[in-house]
């Protein structure tokens, strides 16, 4: 009966996954297992397992965690600075002529984490179409790939960005 109970309770858990899905600090080959500070640090699994689950990156959907209020990270250290961060709710469609689904860039989620000058104008110009963005640059860790591949969800999630289906080509519609 105990086994069944465990199964059921897992099935009913609204969010979350097993802490074993993350590598503990003592085994991650980055931390020194003999380091005297290690026992004072938190394992990623212990900090992340209750957040909305995902299969790549930190195994967490950060945008959803923020949206649901599961986390509420502080936006600034000084009141003066907090006036500089503001959310912009504007989507930009990109890669209009590519062969993959069209890319939707949502300003909203990005401005919930970042300030405008993190991107403008050093990484991206403030006018649509002024910056030539390519998958080649992104895969090199530039442009979108600066964060997506290091901190934000990785480049294996094609459909997160290529999310707007193109209308079917004419020849197919006539069939």
């Amino acid at each position: 009966m105990l086994g069944q109970w465990t199964l059921d309770s897992k099935a009913q858990a609204p969010l979350g996954q097993s802490q074993d899905n993350w590598i503990p600090l003592t085994k991650d080959q980055v931390h020194d297992p003999r380091g005297p500070g290690l026992s004072e640090l938190q394992d990623p699994g212990a900090g992340l397992f209750e957040l909305p689950p995902h299969q790549s990156g930190n195994r967490v959907l950060w945008a959803k965690a923020l949206d649901r209020g599961a986390i509420s990270p502080r936006r600034s250290l000084t009141p003066n600075e907090s006036s500089k961060v503001q959310v912009l709710d504007m989507d930009v469609l990109l890669d209009l002529r590519g062969s993959m689904a069209v890319v939707r860039f949502p300003h909203k989620i990005h401005t919930q984490w970042l300030a405008c000058d993190n991107c403008h104008d050093a990484l991206f110009k403030s006018k649509v179409g002024e910056t030539k963005i390519s998958m080649y640059n992104i895969l090199q860790g530039e442009q979108c790939g600066l964060c997506h591949g290091s901190v934000a969800f990785p480049l294996t999630e094609c459909s997160f960005c290529h999310s707007v289906e193109r209308p079917a080509p004419k020849w197919r519609m006539s069939q």
């Binding site: 931390h31 020194d32 500070g37 900090g47 502080r74 500089k84 300030a115 090199q140 901190v151």
Partner: protein, 131 residues
């Protein structure tokens, strides 16, 4: 979709299996090894639970480029870089050396636990991201 792109992306997912460290971990080791202390491991996941990116990358002085920040203990104690929070007020102070200096000696600086954007050949046991 271009064929080569599929292979690159597939390769990235394979490399990510062998990559170690939590996604977003950065090793800082310009000076640490040479000075005889363990390299510093900075966990993005732990900090982004508590602060948004702009706190460090706009309000604070952290340039968004692995290896581009020249950080010394003097500056940290002066309240710059990690010291803007690790000052005994917002977070515990710089006296807890081992919590930051927790890396394996000899580790190269850069990102660990990341997907390798340069594909199957660019990775290794660890993928380190440097520009």
């Amino acid at each position: 979709m271009k064929r080569w792109l599929i292979w690159v992306v597939l390769g990235m997912s394979l490399v990510s299996l062998s990559a170690q460290g939590e996604y977003g971990d950065v090793v800082l080791n310009r000076y640490a090894d040479k000075a005889g202390v363990r390299p510093v491991v900075f966990p993005h996941w732990f900090h982004r639970l508590r602060f948004t990116c702009n706190v460090c990358h706009a309000e604070g002085g952290f340039k968004m480029r692995a290896g581009s920040n020249d950080i010394t203990m003097g500056e940290i104690v002066d309240g710059k870089f990690c010291g803007m929070c690790h000052n005994g007020e917002i977070a515990w102070s710089a006296e807890f050396c081992h919590r930051c200096h927790s890396g394996r000696p000899g580790l190269a600086g850069g990102f660990y636990g990341s997907q390798d954007p340069s594909g199957p050949s660019g990775g290794g046991d660890f993928y380190q991201r440097r520009h």
